[in-house]
Symmetry: C2
Subunit: 167 residues, 2 copies
């Protein structure tokens, strides 16, 4: 039986993938990447990243603040926002604009042009390369003389699981 805390972390995705491995990989990639880049993945930054990866649901800054307080007594809003800024800069997380929330990014070191499928029911976010969408976007940008760099695109709806449960 799960403890309450563990149970809270159970996500739709965690039922169909090895989430521990998922987190371990993400964290070790982050460490490697930061080391390569000569930037510091400090304890606080690591802990915030770990907390974000504890599920595939988008997490809010003040939720992270509550979660990190047991680990970092002095934590205050700037503690979290600074760590988030760093992680965003390094491409280790995404900011979900429409939720004011954050998720881990799988794409480190790869392309960052991703489609984010955001479930408006469970707040899980799925990253998809969506190559056709991205190439159509590139073409459209060019037609519009709009200049942009790789970026994530957000789409909102119901994920497969939530949609099944509904019916």
């Amino acid at each position: 039986m799960y403890t309450k805390a563990e149970n809270n972390q159970i996500s739709v995705n965690s039922l169909i993938h090895d989430h521990k491995k998922c987190v371990t990989e993400a964290l070790s990639i982050a460490e490697r990447l930061c080391s390569l880049r000569g930037v510091q993945l400090t304890t606080i930054r690591y802990q915030v990243l770990e907390l974000i990866w504890s599920s595939h649901k988008a997490v809010k800054a003040y939720e992270l603040l509550d979660l990190i307080k047991p680990l970092q007594n002095a934590a205050k809003p700037p503690t979290i926002y600074r760590a988030l800024d760093f992680l965003l800069e390094q491409g280790l997380i995404h900011r979900i604009e429409s939720l004011n929330a954050f998720i881990g990014c799988n794409c480190s070191g790869h392309q960052h042009e991703l489609l984010l499928l955001i479930c408006k029911q469970c707040y899980e976010v799925e990253e998809r390369p969506a190559l056709k969408v991205m190439s159509a976007l590139t073409e459209e940008f060019s037609d519009a003389n709009f200049v942009t760099h790789s970026q994530a695109i957000e789409a909102h709806g119901l994920c497969a699981k939530c949609n099944e449960l509904k019916s």
Copy 2:
């Protein structure tokens, strides 16, 4: 010569289109649509819509509050947010999630699947049908078993004019 106030309204787009006509049309479409739907485009709601249409730049809620105060002395945050909620529900405006701001929507009565090109320098927003992008998205959603309704997609970059000025 432009007065200062008028000059502030001058946008990149306004240099190449008849903005007055643009606004008049948007407002009359809004009136027609609301009347057809049996919903009330009240004075406050109309004024907010008009203020939003005063440029093609995304406008923030508290900016609108300042702008409407001369017209509505009693205006307070809920005054604006309620009008915005109404206009969003009726599809008369878009909310730009990444800016916490709003722009008029041209698509009333037509499809609402649009690509929004958001200039991060001047905050102008261009709506484009971007049919190829939308059909690629539909396909991707279907592959992912993701269920979604028509929605706007946001992209960030530099508009043609800002990009020219830069170089």
